[in-house]
Amino acid sequence: MKKFYSAMSSLMALTLLCGALAGCGYTEEYDYEAIDPGTLAAPRAEYATPEEDAAKNAAYRAEYPTLDRYEEPVTIKVAAIQYELEPDVKIGTTPYNQTFNKIALEKLNIKLEYSVVTASTMYDQKVNLAIGANQMPDMFYTTQAQMFTMLRDQNMLADLTEAYYKLNDNLLANYNDYMPEAIKACMKEGKLYALPQQTNRFATAQRLYIRKDWLEIAGVEAPTTIDEMIDVGQAFLDHKEEIAAATGISAANVIPLSLHKDLTFSDSYGAKGMFNAHGAQLGGYFMGEDGKLYSSNTSPEAQAAVETMRTMYERGILDREFLSNTSASVQSYVSAGFVGMVFGEWWLPKDSLEKAVTSNSVNGADWVWVDLPSYNGQERRPIVDRLLISGYNLVSANCKHPEAVAKLCNLFYDIYYSDDAQERYGTDVLPSNGFYYQFVPMKIWDGMDSSVEYRRVQKAFNELYDNGLNSRDMFKSGLYEDLTNAQIESSEAAGEKIYRIAANDSGNGYFCIRRDVIAQINGNEKLKAAFNSMRNREKLLHFADGYPYFVAYKQKIATKDMTKEEKKGWGIYHEMIDENGSYAYVVALSEGEKPAKYNEFYGTALSAMTDYGEYITTQTSTYFTKMISGESAMSSFNDFVKDVDRNGGETIIGQVNAWYKAVHAFDE
């Protein structure tokens, strides 16, 4: 018996030892496997765009048709995210009953069966769960890079090369011209395992938004450097009594600069813009002069950013209470007209800036925005990821018709992006009849379309204005007309086109674009052409909200003197329509007119990041917050660097460099 116990205890000790050794081993010997993307099998016919060579394109399309119908019905199990309905969509529309299913069945003979349908907050987990339960849908969309690599490496995904070639000319051109590296990132050994969602990485670029009226009151210009930014903040502070008197808020509420409490928060309303302005990005990795990647958290640039914020905090420019701010609270202070400067992405005007402009309790709020201020004479550049894939369209290896994914993408594209969809597919393509782009299981956007959208709408607006649609009196009261269902029916029976914007408050009808304005537009060929150059969504959103503002703006009426209905268009106009609008900056970056700095690390977290990442993020935030609030001296930055290096930082850097080498191993 004694022998038995001693044998058992030795065995136990051995097991524990093995476990401990294994635990040590895997981080030390970690080696990122290089993935050879290879080259895709060449198409059976040479491709040319219709503009380049119509005959060649026709020959190619004979081989790779975009929308050919299956002879026998094909059933495909898919997943969908059920978002809230936008107001123009028929009430009661769900992924199960949307008209896209009907059109897919009629035109392609594809029967869509929804095996996973859930709200956006649970979508990724539910798909995970379904895969775990061996119920993976045939085709689905995911935002998780980790899920994609895991499924790819376990051979659970279908090769989509054939599907890729079947995509329509616009989608192909987008992939080929704008995002070949995204396609490459989805390839392995000559096979394509996902159709990446088309994304514009420059849409994450940060800018500095500033209250224009405050600048005027304080008598200063928008800053171009960090030093000037500090001066502007100081000027806001020095003039807070005047600002309070002019805008109607209390002087105690004048906040020159507001930020999210978590310095590592990397979205709008946070400190990301501040770090970027100094050339740093928390969690980012940049190429050093020695040809190796270094972590930005421990870099001198990050230190400089912390020092700037420390100065601002000391002087009261940076909100003294920022340590209790979430992004929602910064957003609400901006909306309430308390904040002078805030960092954010392009969508801020319509999000919170507009609320300050239209608020009844703030007088004369207006905004300007500038590129990130430069630090120490450096170029003014935002920082974006080298490669950004925000989602993947995946097809299960068990799916018998992987090429159907291309057909569905093409069909969606055809309906959503072309203006004659109604002629070809009938009234089922109207949101008011139950077509909702968010419910379509394949997520393919014309990524570059948004870039031209603002130019198209800008052009249409100017043409409408120049051709006589420019009386301010006509638009003072806005473009909305509250119609009952009976009124809409009788108008439509009389052959009038009714543009439903949203269901009205009483629930028995819709707010529509004013019929008299539509009648005037249709009475003039030039107006009609200009109006119809806009897409339906643009008519309902950009035109219905933005045009009254545009007319007043064009006549140089100050925002504060506009009517409530005119002010309503401020956000959409300055975001998506104005040539100096916030989205125009994204376009300028995409087209290479403005420079950007790139974060070289992207993709799924490496093993050391999973192990130590959380600790390092917490330490970064804690150390930096203490330095900014003056609780510890700037010299503690050195302690921070040591702390991080000792606790996993060096391992992570090692892995990141190994990863970089592996990812670029097959670069030409």
């Binding site: 978002y83 936008e86 859930t118 709200a119 379904a130 979205d267 609400s332 202070y333 969508w347 782009y437």
Partner: protein, 307 residues
Amino acid sequence: MENATVKNRPMRMKISGPRRAFLILNTTFLILFALLCLAPFLNLLATSLSSDEAVNAGKVGLIPVGFTANAYKVLVTKIAFFRAFGMSVLRVVLGTAVSVGVITLGAYPLSKGNDAFRGRMFYTVLFIITMFFSGGLVPTYIVITKLGLSDNILALILPTAMNAWNMVLLINFFRQIPKDLTEAATLDGAGHYRILFQIVLPVSLPALATVILFTGVQHWNNWFDGLIYMSPDNFPLQTYIYNMINEANILRQQLVTNPGDAALLAQIPTKTLESAQIFIAILPVIPLYPFAQKFFIKGLVLGSVKE
């Protein structure tokens, strides 16, 4: 005579000075504490009744600023909210009924001695195991979907119907019931079902009330299973609210991909509307405790047996 009048005067309890001070302090403290618990609810109510601007400016404390019932007016038109509300009510009623039924039927035999119920030990252990170990999320998901219960209200009711904790509670209560009561009934010719329903249950009201309250509140508050098993059209209320609060963040992240989502973001309810919905959601639970109070009376069996 005088003495008698003195004697008949109601007795006044003498309270010493320090004791009185303690009582005053204690009562004040407890009242303040109770008010403190009320504060978040008042803040929620005040937010729901204030103007958007005042809420954004962080001006709203316990009293509405810029009073408006607009949020409630908008809420009345929100079909999805009321559908979710109805789903939750249905779930609570049905879920509690099923659960209490199953638990009672399980607790009764297990409350008997080993000689009356031979396999008792086996079943007790079986149920106790479920208190500490579960199959895990994925296996449960497989079972539910294979049973064809996804998007069915039974998926929210059946998995939690047999709650071993509550059953143990009932077993212990049943054991305290004097044996003489059930023995007397047996002598009069009553079977087990008659004893359970006509003797045991009526004297176990306090325990039953506790179980009903626990189960009901648990069904009302549960949001996770709704998220997993139900489609958005059939979300129970708490799931609906969870989604409402978190969706804005998800949409903001997506703006990178599709600027068109800005239109969708505009559909996200404002803070006031959000508060109004949360307030309505907690309303049914608030009065539950005081009303259930009257069932929590011990000693119903007092005097039923003479030793």
